[in-house]
């Protein structure tokens, strides 16, 4: 198959659903975590959950970098913009994320020089055109986004830019999965692996899940048939008591990933000994810092950043949602104090967050039909 109409072909979808139904063991449940927020949205947007037997349960994973960033890091990034010499740049999706002192957007409205960029390369251009100002890029994202920051750091060095730094919050996908698997509350049977993160890292980093924890992993595309095919592959593995890493999204993902991007990340980043994840706590070697070789372009080295500690909003249960222990609507704040127009927790801020997906595709639709 090559074209989208084939990946959304109703006949093929019906056929795949029928095969899943035929193969599902009615005496057991299949708890499948989709790691990536994009998959969560695709499952609800296309109504896939309703097409599948009730014994197949989707659990939403930690694959949204905004959702897992602790408020303290946002506050620390925001504090950099207090310096009038600084232009703080960030992706648009970061602008509405609430820290304890408000969002980047609110601080921009109060007069701080905070600018939205599409790519870190745009922040670099800003530094070139504003040599009298210090330009800081608020870097965030998994291994899909990290290569663009890595490339930007390499170019900054090539250009010898003295007024550009990166406030690095890039995170790595495999360690939180290990943390989830090590949790005593863990009740997952299998994982749907992230599609585009895997274009960079390949499939190898997931091998420990199959080898050490005997859980199947299927790297999946984002079209309806991609996801259904991935579910079928998982059901087959679980029924046969197998645990392998399989690549359903082979039209974009190779087993080794993008080696050039991996090399650039290895050169410009080093793994932090530990990093705090919202809802998951401290996880060893789960985030990148700017490497020693590029320390000249590291905001944390150039500026004195006051480390802060924050607590989650009162009664918010973001952590339990992130771990797949409860559904978003089990949180007392869901759709009450916390909704997309006025998010309290991070899972509602990002359009890829599990709570935002639930609100858009489940809660709102229920409202229509009530």
């Amino acid at each position: 198959m090559k074209y989208v109409d084939e990946f959304r072909n109703p006949e093929l979808i019906k056929k795949t659903c029928a095969e899943i139904k035929r193969r599902v063991d009615p005496t057991r449940t299949y708890r499948i975590m989709e790691i990536c927020g994009g998959h969560t949205h695709a499952i609800y947007r296309f109504g896939l959950k309703d097409l599948l037997p009730e014994t197949i349960e989707f659990v939403h994973g930690p694959g949204c970098p905004v959702c897992v960033l602790p408020m303290a890091r946002l506050d620390e990034g925001l504090s950099l913009s207090e310096n009038p010499d600084v232009i703080l740049t960030a992706f648009g999706d970061m602008m509405r994320v609430p820290g304890t002192q408000g969002t980047l957007l609110e601080h921009k409205a109060r007069g701080r020089d905070i600018r939205m960029v599409y790519s870190p390369l745009d922040a670099l251009k800003l530094a070139e055109t504003n040599p009298e100002r210090q330009v800081i890029f608020f870097a965030i994202g998994f291994e899909t986004t990290a290569p663009s920051t890595a490339l930007t750091l390499k170019r900054a060095r090539l250009l010898g830019l003295k007024n550009f730094t990166v406030f690095c919050n890039h995170v790595v996908i495999a360690p939180p999965l290990k943390a989830l698997l090590d949790s005593p509350d863990m009740r997952l049977d299998a994982f749907i692996g992230p599609g585009h993160v895997s274009t960079v890292i390949g499939c190898k980093p997931y091998e420990f899940i199959a080898r050490d924890y005997q859980k199947p992993v299927v790297v999946s595309g984002f079209e309806p048939l991609d996801l259904l095919q991935s579910v079928l592959m998982i059901v087959k593995q679980l029924n046969q008591e197998e645990a392998r890493v399989e690549n359903q999204y082979a039209r974009a993902v190779s087993w080794e990933g993008n080696l050039a991007a991996q090399k650039a990340m290895a050169e410009t980043f080093s793994l932090r000994p530990r990093f705090e994840w919202r809802g998951l706590g401290q996880i060893p070697q789960s985030a990148f810092a700017v490497s020693e070789a590029y320390s000249e372009w590291d905001s944390e080295k150039r500026f004195a950043i006051v480390k802060t500690r924050t607590t989650e909003p009162f009664r918010a249960r973001c952590g339990e949602v992130l771990q797949g222990l409860i559904k978003p609507n089990d949180c007392p704040l869901f759709a009450n104090d916390c909704h997309p127009e006025h998010p309290t927790g991070a899972l509602m801020v990002s359009s890829e967050g599990a709570c935002a997906a639930y609100y858009t595709y489940v809660h709102r639709q229920q409202g229509v039909f009530e």
Partner: protein, 86 residues
């Protein structure tokens, strides 16, 4: 101008466009684009709606006009399988 053939080739990799790419932080937002022109370290590309931009190609090798690339944050990260049929 995007031909129907190009449109369907790109849509095999999702519906994101250069203007609307979902949450830009998540791995889901890689934008499928077609290569229009190859330069030194960059390529001129278009998405399924015909919107054009230049993307960095430092992490890719042997890019040719007509290739499908997956782009994230202005950087090409992967090639779409449909390119294998050249």
């Amino acid at each position: 101008m995007v031909t129907l053939k190009t449109k369907v080739r790109l849509e095999a990799f999702g519906s994101c466009t250069l203007e609307e790419e979902g949450c830009s932080l998540c791995g889901d937002s890689a934008v499928p684009v077609e290569v229009l022109r190859v330069g030194e370290g960059f390529a001129r590309v278009q998405d399924r709606l015909g919107q054009q931009t230049e993307v960095a190609t430092d992490f890719m090798t042997d890019i040719r006009t007509g290739d499908v690339l997956l782009v994230h944050k202005g950087v090409a990260l992967a090639r779409g399988e449909v390119n294998e049929v050249r």
